[in-house]
Amino acid sequence: MKKVKGILTGILLTVVSLISLVPFWFMFSMSTYKSEMIFQGVPIVPSDYFLENLRTIFASNFVQSYGNSLFVSAVSMVVTVLICAMVGYGMNVYNFKFKKALSIFIMMTMMVPSQIGIIGYMIEMRNIGINQTLWPMIFTWFANGFGAYWMISFIQSSLPIELVESARIDGASEVKIFRSVVLPCIKPGLLTLCLLVFLWSWNNYMIPLVFVNKQENYTIPIFIKSLASAYRTDYGAQLAGLTLATIPLLILFIIGSKNFIKGLTAGAVKG
């Protein structure tokens, strides 16, 4: 009886995992077909057109779009994580007048999605004169409520305050303490948040959709979409582009998944 139950559970979990994975396989497998051939059958087995599809996307401005996406995500990641770490440090080691209020305020910022203000944001960027650049896609992450909240609770649980105190007694400046005591100490948290912000930025669709209006500024999602309208809709090429945009991220994630999931859930579950 117990064995039967075990087997049934095994089958159930396998099916569920397959449902999670099959679309990825389709994506990869379809990217190896010529567009016209994709719908002839069910493309379960990869075909031989992958290189052709790659040639197609490399002939358009795929490389530039990829570069743009990398640039946007990398800058967003570094600055956002730094800002969040600073908030986390400030909220944990200092006492000041409006600390309680600020803490509630940060909780609340977590609940406000950035799309709400996107029209005002667009007008603001237009008036500053940078709506034609990549910067609007970067600035939007800087004050990330979730990141700040998450960093506060991470530092609270993993930074021994005595370490900071003893560094102070040794006469280290606050900046130095932050840089050479605190940051190394919270490395796992920093890495998790890095991956998270990178992912959000890399996958973001709506903000580029609003701001990108010329080819030089395409990010990956917009580039893929542009393939649908430019000439005929080249599904094969689109999927090849998506494969190249998704696979590195998946690999990165699988390598760091244990810490990533652990970190992500630890921050959130506490709240």
Binding site: S20, M27, V93, Y121, I123, F142, A228, G271
Partner: protein, 300 residues
């Protein structure tokens, strides 16, 4: 400890907190306030701004059928999709938490959909659910059934979106619940086992009550997420015909899509769209406050 805290009362806290506060004001708060101001204007983004008072809001609540439709669609998709995803996440977490071998593997595999580019999800699901060439319909016809127009009928299309949500979020919810289960002390389960509780009993009497904080968090964040739905429906239908806004019969026009279309569509009405976004903002705040109250209120 208090002493050292006080010693550093000076400028340092501000120095560390300022970047966040300044950026929040510049890139989040100010745009929202500006949208609020614009919601009282009639403005297409370039021409003359005309102040029209509450006219936009009056139009939304009294004349705009599309607004009510988008609200209904959003609620419908959200109510179908998220509860199933949360329940499945909880059940799977309860099943795999006792596994020794493939626990991490299963967690990772099922987490993958959550980190995938929405563009990819949109395309793949189009290929799966499309009427003539979609794989699912090929399977159905091969089995002797009749092809169903999943992405072309107002009846099915919202269900496809709901399915996309379930596909995307279940693994994430599962990971959250797994973390929650792991943090529950082993002794509690041990005691239950000694008292002769079955696994099902343990699940309902121990796991669910102890995971309430996780559930609260997930319900509220997913409610907020539901009112932000845009990527999935938009991407599912843009690859088909570019002209349809909102999918078949506008059955998948979510609130954000509606407001996006008013603001950046063919006929931009920035003032009106701002008013829509302000209404959305109020809805989200209400939902989170009410959600928190209800979920925490049950305790006492």
């Amino acid at each position: 400890m208090k002493k050292t805290h006080n010693k550093y009362k000076g400028a340092w806290p501000s120095a560390f907190l300022a970047p966040f506060c300044v950026c929040f004001f510049l890139f989040n708060l100010f745009p929202i306030l500006y949208s609020f101001y614009m919601s009282f204007l009639d403005w297409n983004g370039y021409g003359e701004k005309t102040s029209i008072g509450f006219q936009n809001y009056i139009e939304i609540f009294t004349k705009d059928d599309l607004f009510w439709k988008s609200l209904l669609n959003t609620v419908k998709i959200g109510v179908i999709g998220f509860p199933i995803a949360i329940i499945l996440g909880l059940v799977f977490a309860a099943i795999i938490c006792n596994l020794v071998h493939c626990k991490n593997l299963l967690q990772t595999v099922n987490f993958l959909p959550y980190i995938t580019t929405p563009v990819a999800i949109g395309m793949i699901f189009t290929f799966i659910f499309e009427k003539h060439v979609g794989f699912l319909n090929k399977l159905i016809t091969a089995l002797g059934g009749e092809a169903i127009n999943f992405t072309g009928s107002p009846k099915w299309a919202p269900l496809v979106i709901a399915f996309m949500i379930i596909w995307k979020c279940t693994g994430y919810y599962m990971a959250m619940y797994l973390a929650g289960i792991t943090s529950v002390s082993e002794d509690v389960y041990e005691a239950a086992r000694i008292d002769g509780a079955s696994r099902v009993q343990t699940f309902f009497k121990i796991t669910i009550p102890l995971l309430k904080p996780v559930t609260t968090f997930l319900v509220i964040t997913s409610a907020i997420y539901a009112f932000q739905l845009f990527d999935e429906p938009n991407l599912l239908f843009t690859n088909q015909s570019a002209t349809t806004v909102g999918g078949p019969g506008q059955s998948c026009l979510t609130m954000v899509w509606n407001f996006y279309n008013q603001a950046f569509g063919a006929n931009p009405r920035l003032g009106y769209a701002s008013a829509l976004s302000c209404v959305l903002f109020i809805i989200i705040v209400l939902v989170s406050v009410v959600g928190l109250r209800v979920m925490n209120g049950k305790e006492d």
